[in-house]
Amino acid sequence: MSAARKKKTNAEDYLRMYRQMVRIRAFEDRANQLYLSAKMPGLTHMYSGQEAVAVGICEALTATDRITSTHRGHGHCVAKGANFKEMFCELLGKEEGYCRGKGGSMHIADQSNGNLGANAIVGGSMGIATGAALSAKRLGTDDVAVCFFGDGATAQGLWYEVMNMAALWGLPVIYACENNGYSEYTKTDEIAAGSLTARAEAFGIEAHVVDGQDVLAVNDLTQKLVARARKGEGPFFIQLDTYRYHGHHVGDINREYYRSKDEEALWKSERDPIVNFGKWLVDQGISSSDDLDKVKSEVETDADAAVAYAEAAPYPDTREVDMHVYAPSAA
């Protein structure tokens, strides 16, 4: 799905990035709608607003490169190459979902595209990504692993443990911190002392800060770091400054007690990664607004069809309940 290791300098690449961001937004709008219309079991965490992060990074990866994702993971999943149909089926707990309905939004995994899965334990995948990088190094593939996590997750001690080992062993892992300013209902400033980049640098890890609303800036930086990681120059840390448009989860509607409507409006009107990239594409003569509109409507048709498909799809058979507890073993 994502293009292999060539520089994204041409229109095709740009348009694919645009489309992928639109796809994430379309997916999330529908997921939110499913929740609001009480068709989705449980809760889910919207990625809207952060699209440039997932797309900018995943477009710098091959299909065999690994990522680990978070509770806010739909964006990573789409960007790494997943299909709408299996994703919506998973969100609704249907048998055709990526995890046969057993995982749901917070555990969606797509190993066919190297997505080792969302994780409902904040910070829980930091070791997993690092281990995937160790595996790649030991087995002699040149795959890279990207560990997505939020600014709030930097408070988990696990991160420091695995950064230390990644640095000692020169592992091809990139720690990508999506700094959207909030941990649930608390400004991360209030619960994070010092500097995030300094925390990585203290372990001898090269750290970068990039505008997470600028898909090209994210992609350029990631391409460089991925190439260097493949050569054994890793690990790296990237802080990507971004914003989530929705509440912490779909049910977090009244949020003025922790975040002002003005702040939200400002990010949406001035810093939207899709709108701004679209403008740039038109300004640069790479695309026309008509073409971009066409992308949008294609994606929306696709998404609507996938939702309809998923709604009609069957639940897993009840006999599946105690399947997949243990993998079969030869011995």
Partner: protein, 331 residues
């Protein structure tokens, strides 16, 4: 008597105790302005301020360790652990440190702290947010473990927990936060180690913990219609366990089912059943039957999740068979 929700009962218990004793403070993620995602602690920060209702970073082992240190030095911290599933993150601080300090110091240091957390599935929260892990802490000497089954118990047990001079883990059922029950206006405490006989009966004893008390009561109701008189008992604390009350009942009814929402294997039901078998053996007409949750990670899909926990129907059916003597052939 007035009826209040379990959520309100917990809130009242904590507020009353904090008014009484300055050394009590609360800490955890989003406990202050947000009042926790379940809104159980709403209003406390307004009354007690951010010095006594402390928002922490997402650092479960860290803030649990801090609570242990505070408890060792004159404070009485209440730790809020957002989901019971996060117990896995804090086991070292809870089980290697808090639980053992009094013993290891020969009675010189003690840890008066409360860890409030939750249990319970069928909320479509999937495998990492649905576990009922009380068996794990019940196995560790030095910890006490309370499982309130209604707003009444939630208040009375919480107050006792706060006044206890040992680490107490209290598990609320997250599906019961909005359930109402009569709760007196006057102060009361519920002593640890005293089971509550919720309903008298002579044909069979149904022992339920936490949410399973409701299941047992509903089953007893159904059985009554068939002329089977079930006695329903809520142990309320599993450490200490009120063996006497359980034995008295079982010796009377000569049949028992133990119902619990934790995984059945190596869990609570095995302990209770084997104590009854051991100490009431010659009074039993049939083996004590255990009904725990299935030994599978909790699946997301609604089509599967509901199959994993004991239900009124299953308990009723099993009780019927036991009373009819059918289990004789099963053994």
């Amino acid at each position: 008597m007035r009826e209040i929700t379990l959520s309100k009962a917990v809130n009242e218990a904590i507020a009353e105790e904090m008014r009484r004793d300055e050394t009590i403070f609360l800490l955890g993620e989003d406990v202050a302005e947000a009042g926790t995602p379940f809104k159980v602690l709403s209003g406390l920060v307004e009354e007690f301020g951010t010095e006594r209702v402390i928002d922490t970073p997402i650092s479960e082992p860290g803030f649990t360790g801090i609570a242990v240190g505070a408890a060792l030095t004159g404070s009485r911290p209440i730790v809020d652990l957002m989901f019971g599933d996060f117990l896995f993150l804090i086991m070292d601080q809870l089980c290697n440190q808090a639980a053992k300090a009094y013993y290891m110091s020969g009675g010189k240091l003690n840890v008066p702290m409360v860890l409030r957390t939750n249990l319970g599935a069928t909320r479509r929260s999937a495998a990492q947010h649905s576990q009922s892990l009380h068996a794990l802490v019940a196995h560790i000497p030095g910890l006490k473990v309370a499982l309130p089954s209604s707003a009444y118990e939630a208040k009375g047990l919480m107050k006792t927990a706060i006044r206890d001079n040992n680490p107490v883990v209290i598990f609320e059922d997250k599906l019961m936060y909005q359930d109402k029950a009569p709760v007196p206006e006057e102060e009361y405490l519920i002593p640890f180690g005293e089971a509550n006989v919720k309903r008298q009966g002579k044909d069979i004893t149904l022992i339920g913990t936490s949410s399973m008390v409701q299941v047992a009561e509903a089953a007893a109701e159904a059985l009554a219609k068939e002329g089977i008189e079930a006695e329903v008992i809520d142990p309320r604390t599993i450490v200490p366990l009120d063996e006497e009350t359980l034995l008295r009942s079982v010796k009377k009814t000569s049949r028992a089912i133990v119902i619990d929402e934790g995984h059945q294997s190596y869990g609570i039901t095995g302990e209770i059943a084997s104590r009854l078998n051991e100490k009431a053996f010659y009074h039993l007409d049939a083996p004590v039957v255990r009904m725990g949750a299935m030994d599978v990670p909790v699946p997301f899909s609604p089509a599967l999740e509901d199959l994993t926990v004991p239900t009124v129907e299953k308990v009723t059916a099993m009780a019927r068979r036991l009373v009819a003597g059918e289990m004789i052939h099963a053994a």
